[in-house]
């Protein structure tokens, strides 16, 4: 009872909500880049929202199921197919023995998530299944997935399905919880005041391009250099997912899931938590437009996202029960 990697992707890892409580040891949380997407994708197959899941970048792995399973794809759209037939994202799908799942081209987004009903067997390290690539621990042997890896399912999919072919279940998760604005909302950081007036304006008036030097640790942004009114050093201090640091060359880096626990560059801004998902689905070449907001708005948006997720979870649970008990 497993999911076999028959061709490896560029960077496919097992991730969950992250590993907390160890940052004082220099151990960063890791976890999924898009924590909203892993929740939605897990809910579609009836898992708890933070269940371990496979995160994939393009080109992604090709998988073969050695037994029937209930799966879902969420996050990015990489034009997935099963046995060559296109399958949609954000739907629960019943797959059969020997079905082959693959991804053809990146249509939108940067990271696709594959959830399997009942969960995957994975290594737990310090209370998380997330792959910590530097520590070589957690997830699947602490590394990215490779050809011939075999991921075991925690539970067999026991519902008997009549058809031979895979089945796309007829409902789709609604992920429209906020407006479609492409803007990324930010809060000023402790060193925001170090930027010159002109650089502050440039920060929100112009857009930034995500460069090729971007990965799970952080995104380097390209634009005219920003200027600081002081060169006073910042003594190393904690940073977070979404922290935007000003580099000595005037460039910016946005810290992502594999960010370091502490940093010594000025923290000029922070992307609000509710927009981490949007950010995580951006890739090299994409443009980012920042807009300043306030603490209250940031909090309200995350609460709104959370309320939406709770409704979605209830809806998914209800639909799955209805479908499999009829």
């Amino acid at each position: 009872m497993s999911l076999k990697v028959i061709k490896s992707g560029i960077l496919d890892t097992i991730q969950d909500n992250g590993r907390y409580g160890n940052q004082h040891l220099g151990i960063n949380p890791a976890g999924a880049m898009d924590k909203y997407a892993i929740q939605v994708t897990n809910m579609l197959v009836g898992n708890k929202p933070g269940e371990a899941i496979i995160e994939m970048h393009f080109p992604a792995a090709v998988f073969m199921f050695t037994q029937p399973a209930l799966i879902a794809l969420g996050g990015a759209d990489f034009s997935a197919s099963i046995n060559g037939e296109p399958v949609p994202t954000l739907h629960a799908i019943v797959v059969g023995k020997n079905d082959v799942l693959q991804f053809h081209k990146p249509v939108n987004g940067a990271r696709v998530y594959l959830a399997v009903g009942g969960g995957l067997v994975a290594d737990n390290w310090m209370n998380s299944y997330s792959t910590h690539l530097k520590a070589k621990a957690g997830g699947y042997q602490g590394r990215n997935l490779r050809k011939d890896d075999e991921l075991l399912l925690r539970q067999p999919f026991s519902v008997s399905v009549q058809q031979e072919e895979f089945i796309v279940l007829p409902w789709q998760a609604d992920t429209k919880w906020s407006d479609d604005s492409k803007e990324i909302l930010i809060l000023p950081g402790n060193e925001w005041g170090r930027l010159t007036t002109e650089s502050k304006e440039n920060f929100t008036m112009t857009s930034f391009v995500i460069t090729q030097q971007s990965d799970r640790m952080g995104y380097r942004l390209n634009n005219i250099p920003l200027h600081s009114i002081t060169n006073e050093e910042v003594v190393s201090s904690a940073v977070s997912f979404g922290t935007i640091q000003l580099l000595p060359d005037g460039g910016l880096i946005v810290l992502m899931a594999d960010h370091q626990t502490t940093g010594g560059y000025p923290r000029v801004a922070h992307v609000i938590s509710a927009h981490h998902s949007k950010l995580a689905q951006m890739k090299a070449g994409d443009k980012i437009q920042f807009r300043l907001t306030d603490q209250q708005t940031a909090e309200e948006l995350l609460i709104k996202q959370q309320q939406h997720l709770l409704q979605l979870q209830n809806a998914c649970t209800f639909r799955l029960q209805q479908y499999f008990n009829k």
Binding site: H24, N190, V235, S237, S273
Partner: protein, 249 residues
């Protein structure tokens, strides 16, 4: 001052400021500098929070002169806080705590001895450091091993320790560009000294290597050193290095 029950009381006269680190974390900043007194306050407050976390707290991260608390905004909203924002509620919790001096038992700091081989093969930057500082390689080793260092914080990599402070005679700025550094490398950056627990790009000037495993994911406590530890380096030969390394596997 020492109270009658043998506990050292710490008066909270240290000044601080509090600022949000995004929308889900808060930082108490005791001063943007490397200072042993401030760092002691950070560690005391950190230990207290570890023992008595406030509701909604995810974790606390001590640094040189600041303490950051990551919190769960959604969990706190469910609690129905009266404050205008969740940040303000968390800030209030911290202010109340900061009003209270931290009582801390006179627990002894751990004293850790770390073997280091300063021989050329393991110390790519030691000769240049000696030349720039106009001292001999032997003197670099002597200065580095003659002091006891405090682990001010961990960060950057799992188990990477920021220790201080080295003698001015061997203090040297980090390299302008990072290079690939071998696990166990012992380096200097300004007046800081530290050990790379894992192979990584880095800019510290490397003057030796320890055979000890500073980080091992398989251990219950994966990092060898903790914040607040006192560390003394002692020189070993390449042969001794290899012997110790075998016992570490």
């Amino acid at each position: 001052m020492v109270s009658s029950n043998g506990f050292e009381m710490h008066s909270s006269i240290i000044r601080y400021r509090i600022f949000p680190l995004g929308d889900s974390a808060i930082t108490i900043d005791f001063g943007n500098c490397i200072d042993e007194t401030l760092n002691k306050e950070v560690i005391r407050r950190f230990n207290q929070l570890q023992q008595q976390p406030f509701p909604g707290m995810i974790e606390a991260v001590p640094a040189y002169s600041s303490l950051t608390i990551h919190y769960d905004m959604v969990a706190l909203r469910k609690k129905g806080t009266d404050a205008l924002t969740i940040f303000q509620w968390v800030e209030q919790q911290l202010l109340e705590r900061l009003e209270q001096p931290v009582e801390h038992s006179a627990t002894k700091e751990r004293y850790m001895k770390i073997s280091v081989c300063y021989e050329k093969d393991f110390a790519p930057d030691i000769e240049q450091l000696a030349a720039i500082k106009n001292i001999s390689v032997e003197e670099v080793i002597q200065f580095h091993t003659s002091k006891t260092y405090k682990v001010y914080m961990l960060g950057f990599l799992p188990g990477f320790t920021y220790m201080g402070e080295v003698d001015e005679k061997i203090a040297i700025p980090r390299k302008p560009q990072p290079v690939n550094i071998v696990a166990g490398s012992v380096g200097i950056a300004g007046k800081q000294t530290g050990i790379y627990p894992l192979a990584s790009p880095g800019g510290w000037q490397i003057i030796g290597r320890t055979p000890l495993k500073l980080f091992d994911a398989k251990r219950d406590e994966p990092t060898l050193l903790r914040v607040g530890d006192l560390v003394q380096f002692y020189p070993v030969t390449k042969k001794e290095f290899e012997e110790i390394k075998i016992t570490e596997l």
